[in-house]
């Protein structure tokens, strides 16, 4: 298998991937240093006849050094990660002009509610479809995430989006798709026997085809309700 992250299709994905690869190189360095060090010591100081081990109980300087270095690296990572985290999840990071879509997770389906022309959820002109989540490209989307029964988790790998859907809570998450195409919502939190195929189709449209799709779907929906 190739060791890469799936194609990234959202704005936050880029920030997350960069951080991932930064940590990757830091950890790989630490990994090589430690493992190589261990193996080298094992070979160099292997037991031999007449060999005398050095009688020492430690070295304050050395211990201070190898306490400080990881501490510094961790502080740096903490600050960097904090920045990125805030840019994705802090309350003021939510774009206010975003398209708001309601997603209700239930065993074992994703019920998606689209607002009417008023772009507001929770009134008569909303319409609802099952297991289809279609959004326009290059437009921030806020998903109002709810759950009807167990805890589910709204996961679109290519969007680098994951958020548990908790019954009794409405959790908003936002992201912005940067490329059109078809993806899938996967449930990432064990939610029962159907967990392993609790999935929904994600379609990222260019603006015009999104409009077309939206009009068609809302028309159908209201036709059915007559």
């Amino acid at each position: 298998m190739d060791w890469s992250l799936p194609l990234n299709a959202s704005t936050q994905g880029e920030a997350i991937d960069n951080l991932f690869w930064l940590i990757f190189w830091i950890t790989v360095t630490a990994f090589v240093v430690v493992e190589a060090g261990v193996l080298w010591f094992l070979w160099k100081y292997r037991g031999r006849k007449g060999r005398q081990a050095r009688y020492t109980h430690g070295n304050a300087t050395a211990e201070v050094i190898w306490t400080t270095i990881p501490a510094v690296v961790m502080v740096f990572l903490g600050i960097y990660s904090g920045r990125v985290w805030a840019s994705i999840r802090s309350s003021d990071s939510y774009p206010d002009d975003a398209l708001t879509i309601g997603v209700m997770a239930k065993q074992f389906e994703w019920i998606v509610t689209y607002p009417g022309e008023d772009r507001m959820l929770g009134n008569a002109d909303d319409f609802t479809i099952r297991n289809r989540f279609e959004i326009p490209v290059n437009e921030p989307v806020v998903v109002m995430l709810e759950s009807e029964d167990a805890i589910h988790s709204f996961f679109i790998p290519e969007m680098r989006v994951k958020q548990d859907a908790v019954p009794g809570m409405t959790i908003p998450i936002w992201f912005e798709a940067i490329r059109t195409g078809e993806f899938q919502i996967a449930c990432a939190e064990l939610c029962g026997l159907g967990h392993y195929r609790m999935r929904a189709r994600v379609v990222v449209h260019d603006p015009t085809s999104y409009e077309a799709w939206y009009d068609e779907r809302s028309a159908e929906a209201f036709a059915a309700e007559e």
Binding site: M1, W3, P6, Q12, A15, I16, L19, F20, I23, T27, A30, E35, G37, V38, F41, L42, Y45, G47, R51, A53, R54, Y55, H57, G58, A62, E63, T67, A71, L77, G78, S81, G82, V84, I88, R89, S90, Q107, D149, A150, I151, F155, P157, R160, V161, K162, V166, P167, G168, M169, F183, Q184, A186, C187, A188, L190, C191, G192, L193, Y196, R197
Partner: protein, 610 residues
């Protein structure tokens, strides 16, 4: 071996070898050594069960939807015609985690070695409360049996994951499991009571029953680690019990603690569970670190590098362990600002772990390294624990965790820490203390074969899981092929499964070796590894009551290659005339505090061996 010249403490002989009836001596025994060995058999049994469940899980993931060979014996409710059902898969995942964490690794570390080692290493005749100690084992047994029995009840065993997130775990109509889940809860509450009783015992014993001269900073690191873990158990386990009881009430008598119906809060369960769960993770790794420190010092024939920083690292980890639980909940709907603070505490806690790794390297440095099997496993622990620790950094970083949370990256991480970490240390400990426990050696070559096979197969099994996680493969899914983004990873899964099944094979090999050595292993001397700590200054196995007279301790735990000695080790209880320069100022201070600064009059006697 040479008889050990040691000081007599002048204590009156507390224990006389009087013949006890078989059942009191070997079944309902109050001897900490018997109880430790009972726990060993108990937890090895559940290690085997947990391994079997893992093989079933890996079979389904390697060959999704194919009939399990010989699976026809399973009832229709689990695997009709041998084809595993998703609900059974969920039960397998849940019970594998439960058995491994609560009934295998935890008792192996704490139940076995806290019981067996603490009194021997601190120079006590037995635990402070031997009867309580017996109770803690015989409480654990019915808990284990009930957990096993839950497979047989209607609806099957618990299937909400070992973390049993509510509401799934609280609502039978969602999980299809009712009685099984309740048995799971009751079993763990009972087990928890047992662990708490045990922990009370360990803590009291270490505080109050140390031999003359066994000051805090002369305690072997294994005892230190077990002592700290016992404190963690004391403070975290009751919180789990409280949560479990609330969950049980939600299941049975219609309360709504964790159900949103009447204002209950599903997240409350996660907070309570992880407030226990994260200290639990350290309960599962600290003793392992302690054993590894013992073995590496012995194998390198050097005093452990930075004994005091090792101790302070243990304490720091234990303390911080109570402040990081939220890092399991970054994507749970918890306030993102909280996520930030939990990320900081999580990154901080990685520092003491790093210190320990470097100290182990420092111990190897300029040593005279003996490659006996325990040493191999100890070094293996260090190498694998490093990987587990480093992969932890990814999930500590909240943004990256958005992507890898609940993926196989996590599965890889926890197995590098728990299997590559804890279990390797446990294997090392078993090989190391087996001679003391049973008076027989395990053949070293056979042990080395076990090590290399396990080490290679372990990495073949779990390292690729990092890749699966990077591809976005979620945890606890019955059939990855259902997802487009997982379409091309089936071959990896199959390869992993083959390695996993082979890894299980090495486990069987170990069990055979273990039981064979029990009967056929060659007789062990009192101190086969030329070790310095007190348990090695007794015959193998030690007599009931451990010591005819309590030993008197003059040295730190790892006085290897002392320049004033003609041999490369100096037992803690010999040669008061030799001074070990380990942090003298600190030792003075501690001695002053504990009022044992004065050493008794010289005079020789052969300890215990008589």
């Amino acid at each position: 071996m040479a008889t050990i010249v040691a000081e007599a403490s002048g204590m009156p002989v507390l224990v006389v070898e009087h013949e006890m009836p078989f059942i009191r001596k070997y079944v309902f025994s109050t001897d900490h050594k018997v109880i430790g060995i009972q726990f060993l058999f108990f937890s090895l049994f559940f290690l085997l069960i947990g391994g079997l469940l893992a093989v079933l899980i890996r079979y389904q993931l390697g060959w999704p939807g194919k009939a399990i060979p010989g699976g026809g014996v399973l009832p229709e409710s689990m695997a009709p015609q041998g084809i595993m059902l998703p609900e059974f898969y969920n039960s397998l995942v849940t019970m594998h985690g439960t058995f491994m964490v609560f009934f295998a690794i935890m008792p192996l570390l704490v139940g076995v070695y806290a019981n067996y080692l603490i009194p021997l290493q601190i120079g006590a005749h037995d635990m402070a409360f031997p009867k309580l100690n017996m109770a803690s084992f015989w409480i654990s047994v019915p808990a284990g049996l009930m957990m096993m029995a839950s497979f047989a009840v209607e609806g099957g065993a618990a299937g909400a994951g070992w973390t049993s997130y509510a509401p799934l775990s609280a609502r039978p109509d969602l999980s299809g499991v009712s009685l099984g889940q309740q048995m799971w809860i009751v079993s763990l509450v009972v087990l928890g009571l047992g662990s708490i009783l045990g922990a009370v015992n360990y803590v009291t014993t270490v505080i109050n029953n140390r031999a003359p001269g066994m000051t805090w900073f002369r305690l072997p690191l294994a005892t230190w680690a077990l002592f700290i873990s016992a404190i963690l158990i004391l403070l975290s386990m009751p919180v789990l019990s409280a949560a479990m009881i609330m969950l049980l009430f939600d299941q049975t008598i219609g309360t709504n603690f964790f159900l949103p119906a009447e204002g209950g809060q599903p997240l409350l369960w996660q907070h309570l569970f992880w407030f226990f769960g994260h200290p639990e993770v350290y309960i599962l790794i600290l003793p392992a670190m302690g054993f590894v420190s013992e073995i590496i010092a012995n194998g390198s024939r050097k005093p452990i590098f930075g004994y005091h920083s090792m101790v302070f690292a243990l304490i720091a980890i234990a303390f911080l362990g109570f402040l990081v639980w939220g890092h399991h909940m970054f994507q749970s709907g918890m306030n993102p600002a909280l996520g930030m603070s939990f990320m900081i505490s999580t990154l901080v806690i990685s520092v003491p772990s790093a210190i320990k790794v470097f100290n182990w390297m420092g111990t190897l440095w300029e040593g005279n390294i003996q490659f006996h099997t325990p040493m191999l496993f100890a070094v293996g622990f260090v190498m694998l624990f490093v990987i587990g620790g480093l992969s932890g950094v990814y999930m500590a970083s909240t943004p990256v965790d958005i992507y890898i949370h609940d993926t196989y990256f996590i599965v890889a991480h926890i197995h590098y820490v728990l299997l590559g970490g804890s279990l390797f240390a446990i294997f090392g400990a078993i090989y190391y203390w087996f001679p003391k426990m049973f008076g027989r050696m395990i053949n070293d070559t056979a042990g080395k074969i076990h090590f290399f096979a396990t080490f290679i197969l372990f990495n073949l099994t779990f390292f690729p899981m990092h890749g699966l996680g990077m591809k976005g493969m979620m945890r606890r899914i019955y059939d990855p092929a259902q997802y487009e983004h997982l379409s091309e990873i089936q071959d990896t899964n199959t390869m992993v499964s083959i390695a996993a099944i082979a890894l299980f094979g090495t486990g069987i090999y170990f069990l055979v070796l273990f039981f064979w050595s029990l009967f056929k292993g060659k007789k062990a001397p009192a101190n086969p590894w030329n070790a310095t700590t007190l348990e090695w200054q007794t015959p193998s196995p030690p007599r009931h009551g451990n010591w005819s007279e309590l030993p008197v301790v003059y040295h730190g735990p790892y006085e290897y290659s002392h320049p004033d000695m003609d041999r490369d080790w100096l037992a803690q209880n010999e040669r008061p005339d030799i001074v070990s320069p380990a942090h003298p100022e600190l030792t003075d201070q501690v001695l002053a505090e504990t009022g044992a600064s004065e050493e008794p009059s010289p005079g020789t006697h052969t300890d215990g061996a008589g």
